[in-house]
């Protein structure tokens, strides 16, 4: 029981040159570094993190994973991400605690049921298990739900997605960091990228507060900070609004929620962690900023929403609240592109609040992109140019008031 714990990865000195530099020490960066080393034999890679790995959205999300997205471009990506959890658990020899308890999404109107019908059809077409359920089936799945007409938004039915669930987010950070470091990836924490050097339209170096690194390949995967870094280092403007999203947990309770439950009408989702706490969230203050501040305003809203959805939770106390950043694009789909605006510069950003469930698959394909210089088929729809061509993706049925300009 009292084993001696060794560090999962070792500290390495910052070298003056690397084959590839990855900005950010979150899941997308660590996954890209791991896949570069394990699949493409590019092991001379530096992951540059300003604070500590997993400090941003990687450790602040509510750990929910699912593949029931809305569009044909997005679903295959998220499906592969879902399929990767058991594979990575084995490959990294690290328990990622993937618990595929299933996600139940509630509909509170006929219009919402219609929207789900299309979602389910698209998901099934792409081989993702997703089903329409009626109100009674919802009650069978989650007995705590109130399916009478008493709540503010009565339950009409739902969309049940059995393969989704929860993954221990910190374990993914540690597992990927250990896996990458074992193969030779250098993880530099407490190091800030201050500039990107460009020579003849190509990436030539990366400046950090600890010194200059010569490199020809840079991947900006700094999550919500990527847009600000792209503007600061390259003057590149992106269709991104960075908003703070909040989440909170209640005091621990006996097991009562065996699935992730979410509702667009209440604007809330909830799942019970393995410790018994009800983790819930979904709210964002609608103005861009780079703080992690939380708000009394939303604790109140969340209590009201959860109390209506799951009346047995009324009176249960919230223990903790925290905020994290989400980089929202106008079409709720990410931007995955390379060699824009300069050769050798790659970006993996704009994930909004879908960044956790997609992290490993994004890392896998971005690693392929960086290694070969050729955009993988899977990533082609996500290029930056789509905004100029007005080919926005329909990840959201109706534009919501998340992006500043809507």
């Amino acid at each position: 029981m009292f084993l001696k714990f060794n560090r999962l990865w070792k500290e390495s000195p910052l070298k003056s040159s690397y084959d590839a530099v990855i900005i950010g020490g979150g899941l997308h960066s660590l996954a890209a570094a791991y896949f570069l080393a394990s699949r493409h034999n590019i092991r001379d890679v530096a992951v540059i993190e300003k604070k500590f790995i997993g400090c941003g959205a990687a450790g602040r999300n509510t750990a929910i994973v699912r593949a029931n997205q809305r569009t044909q471009e997005n679903i295959p990506l998220y499906k592969e991400a879902l399929d990767l959890w058991p594979i990575l658990t084995k490959e990294l020899d690290f328990n990622l605690m993937f618990y595929n308890c299933g996600n139940l999404n509630l509909a509170h109107s006929d219009a919402a049921m219609k929207a789900f019908r299309m979602n389910v059809a698209t998901a099934q077409f792409h081989g993702v298990n997703s089903q329409l359920v009626d109100a009674r089936q919802c009650k069978e799945l989650v007995p705590a739900l109130d399916i009478t007409d008493r709540p503010r938004f009565p339950i009409f039915g739902g969309m049940f997605h059995p393969p989704g669930g929860i993954v221990r987010h910190d374990a993914v950070v540690w597992g990927l960091a250990r896996g990458g470091a074992k193969l030779g990836v250098h993880i530099h924490q407490g190091t800030e990228v201050t500039g990107i050097g460009v020579k003849n339209g190509k990436v030539a170096w990366v400046d950090t507060d600890k010194g200059r690194i010569q490199t020809t390949k840079v991947l900006n995967a700094a999550g919500a900070y990527s847009a600000g870094i792209a503007f600061k280092c390259l003057g590149q403007r992106l269709p991104i609004s960075v908003l703070t999203i909040q989440a909170m947990v209640t005091q621990p309770l006996k097991p009562l929620l065996h699935h992730v439950v979410s509702s667009g009408a209440y604007h809330a989702y909830a799942n019970q962690t393995l410790k018994g706490e009800i983790a819930t969230g979904a709210h964002m203050d609608p103005w861009p900023n780079y703080t992690n501040q939380s708000t009394a305003h939303y604790i109140k809203h969340q209590a009201e929403a959860i109390g209506e959805m799951l009346p047995c939770l009324r009176g249960v106390k919230f223990m903790r609240i925290w905020g994290g950043l989400a980089d929202m694009t106008p079409d709720m789909a990410p931007i995955l592109d390379g060699n824009v605006p300069v050769e050798g510069y790659y970006m993996d950003c704009g994930w909004g609040y879908f960044g956790f469930k997609s992290s490993t698959v994004a890392g896998k394909y971005m690693a392929q992109y960086v290694a070969t210089g050729e955009c993988p088929e899977m990533l082609k729809p996500f290029r930056l140019k789509r905004f100029e061509e007005h080919r926005l993706m329909g990840e959201t049925a109706a534009l919501v008031d998340y992006t500043a300009n809507n």
Binding site: F231, K232, W287, N289, T291, F387, E388, N405
Partner: protein, 88 residues
């Protein structure tokens, strides 16, 4: 994460009374000479800068005025225009 915003008519008020109206991108581009790139830049693109930016706000639950302020995105507080010069 409430903070105060100074409305030109009502003075400093709680930020939740206002609606964010986007970064200040200057005047709307001239439709005669407009390219898809310039239009995309005006409609979608943002600086997302770390630090002070000029931005639009609308006093939705108040007097209905549209106006600009300077705000520090790292501290999430309103600042004066002098702070913008110092920031850049």
């Amino acid at each position: 994460m409430a903070f105060l915003i100074t409305c030109p008519l009502c003075g400093p008020r709680d930020a939740y009374e206002f609606r964010f109206g986007g970064e200040d991108k200057g005047p709307r581009p001239d439709p005669e000479t407009l390219s898809p790139e310039a239009w995309c830049d005006y409609v979608h693109m943002a600086d997302s800068r770390f630090g002070v930016q000029k931005e639009w706000w609308y006093h939705r639950r108040g007097c209905g005025t549209w106006f600009t302020i300077y705000r520090d995105t790292v501290k999430n507080i309103e600042v004066s225009s002098n702070d913008r010069e110092a920031d850049q």
